[in-house]
Symmetry: none
Subunit: 240 residues, 4 copies
DNA sequence: CATGAATGAGAATTCATTCAT
DNA sequence: AATGAATGAATTCTCATTCAT
């Protein structure tokens, strides 16, 4: 946790006090995300970020080397969120299938609660210098591990067919990011929850083995957190 | 068809001759795609595009109102490609299931043969003014129709479960775009073909009804282009 | 007359035929005046002039060295007008006082019938290169002679007090140009005629000697072209 | 008075401090006037103004929205000068006729001490956008009031014939501006003072009633500031 | 002679970054 | 530490001028 907390420690700052650094950077990143989400990275000036953060332009440069660093901080904040939210929701969940579903939901919800930043992540990733882009790629792969682990568990447990884990993970990631990327389209057509369950259902239909289906039914009879019934006619069919 | 071909003529130009317009714009767009793919829209100057296209900066402004128009032309070129390639490959294919598979493959291949432009499409779409963004959205929805039509045919024929067509279409789109978006990752891990078939397999497993599976097997006995065998243990399950 | 007609012969042209040169230049100047009057010299492009003249941009450069030459042609056209109009109206007028009044009226009317060009003359004169500005200055002084001659005659005849002829001439010029310069203000307040007679009246009151007044009254009894009565209370005063 | 002083504060600036704004703008306007007077508005680049003012190009845009604003500031500076100088010289002068003469002289002197700016005013007024042109027109009319008031007083006092005040005012304005407009001509022929007194004499001859003349003579016997005797032979004639 | 596409130098403007206060 | 005025390099876009057809 401390590692994550200080993940951005590598970014240079003229200021000594680490707490102050953290506080100021949060202030700036939060303002930057807002602005970037509306006008994009290139459409946002440092001055605007400073104003939105309620600080002077000069101050930003005490906590950041250049404008790109602000973007990198935004990326880091996104990934930090994933690293915090997904494990938090997985806490105490032990069943592989449940862990998979929970991870997918947690990821999608994390994206959903920060559509702006996620879109910025996609749209502006090539505004980063190669080195910084590498950092982001690493963070991305690290985040993927949060999804691929439950997938592997499900395969090992015989619930999922044996598929290419990497590709599947990536498809889950796209499911989540898709909500952000095409938010303009989905916004007034479907709820985030509906979107998630429809996606999850597609994955389960594609992956569950017969034993997996059995386990799935068993889980849903205990019914801790059933997917929305309307979205699973298949279950009833199977149940019937 | 002619309408699509001249879609970009609506963009203002000081030059009258439509052939010349088309030729010059192709020249410019082609150079722009190359440059945008490397440095992004904002990271590319008009001068660079002009140089890459082997023309003067002034010339560009004879065929385009401003830099944003160049980006719009790039988008239009992408969509034009979809509108040309997918129907071309569907020509003569009548079976719904085959049409679905062919459409998915054609879409993915179109993206694959123009990764640069597709990524630019994602990354820079918010660099467009609202009106132009609307044009792009419309083109996108129009392209989606190329996928959703076969999906609906498959459902009507009883081959696919009855799912939300819009969402499914969108998922296919993401499958295709995913190849471009994460190309940096997949490039040295999997071939485009492998990527496509893995994705297609996932969709089929998720969607095919028993009758769909039957039809699928029948099709593959004629065996024009079978999915990789290792990916279909499920069939046996259903059959059993 | 031929000299004036060919006044602009010094401007280079790639075209041989003098008649064609004249015709084309007239076409261009007339278009230029229209455009300049609305958008000024700097606000008008060669392309716009060409369009307004119904020719190609290239053609203009066959009859003119550069854009400034077009402006110079405009100036020349203005002065040609003065040189034509004022003498034409003075033709047959022999009385010095009448010649003065006629010259003033003719000058003002010439300006009035070409407000646009006159304003351009003022506003853009310093857009000319020094050499061309010198040409314009010479033309201006030459035009002034049309006014200063009658003034001198009037002084010699004892009708006018002996004043500084140069200054007075210049004041008459300003009277005429004033109509153009402040046209935005006068347009809906007074007619050109009213403006002229008021100005003329002021000059006469300032200049006429007693013998001048006497002559003036005599002239007006013959009454070829009396100033508007309402503007000459002074006469009555003297008469009384 | 304070209102006038801060008139230009209405022009947008990124800088808050009004004193700094005023100081910087003066710096820039002063440089701009110099440059404009030589090369005109269009012939002067922002870079040149910046260099002449000893600042960076960027700085100018902290105090001004665009280049046109610089021109507007130049205009405002001209009018501010009139609004300051003319009232200052009229201070303590109560006699209508003296007020008229003083106002005319003050106006001409104000113009004379800033020929460059005045010429720019004429030549470049149509370089302004309509809204800004309106501002300038209003300022011009406001300035005219400084002249028309004494004129009306003189008429009311019976010193002047009853003439069209607007037209007369305008003629006085042209007298003053004429010095600037044709400065290239007058410069080596006559002093500003000679020019003024000749002009004033013309007006007085044109306007003074018998009672006006009487008052005039009385004033000049007290002889605070007599017009150059050589320019007023008329008086003697009348007196005789 | 006439055309109009092509050129490219030049201008206004923006904005990341610095630094004196 | 914080401020925000100042800098100036970089970029988009324009338009006078040329020249192949």
């Amino acid at each position: 946790m401390i590692a994550e907390k200080r993940m951005d420690i590598e970014i240079e700052s003229h200021v000594e006090n680490p707490d102050r650094i953290e506080r100021r950077r949060e202030q700036v990143v939060s303002a930057a995300v807002k602005k970037f989400a509306v006008n994009g990275y290139h459409g946002t000036t440092i001055k605007e970020i400073a104003e939105a953060a309620g600080v002077s332009t000069g101050l930003i440069y005490s906590y950041v080397k250049d404008k790109e660093d602000v973007l990198l901080l935004v990326f880091m904040a996104i990934f930090r969120r994933y690293q915090q939210e997904i494990p938090r929701q997985l806490e105490g969940v032990t069943d592989p299938l449940q862990r998979f579903c929970t991870a997918v939901r947690a990821y999608c919800e994390a994206v959903g609660s920060n559509v702006g930043a996620t879109v910025v992540g996609y749209q502006e990733s090539n505004a980063l210098s190669p080195e910084r882009r590498d950092i982001v790629k690493k963070l991305e792969l690290k985040t993927n591990a949060l999804i691929s682990a439950p997938v592997e568990e499900c395969i090992k447990a015989g619930y999922f067919r044996s598929v290419n884990v990497e590709l599947l993970t990536f498809r889950v990631v796209l499911l989540a990011h898709g909500w952000a990327l095409k938010n303009w389209y989905f916004r007034d057509r479907i709820s985030l929850n509906g979107y998630i369950e429809e996606g999850l259902s597609l994955f389960l239909h594609a992956l569950l083995t017969p034993s997996g289906w059995q386990h799935w039914r068993a889980l849903n009879e205990v019914a801790m957190r059933p997917p929305q019934p309307s979205k699973r006619p298949a279950r009833r069919r199977k149940a019937g």
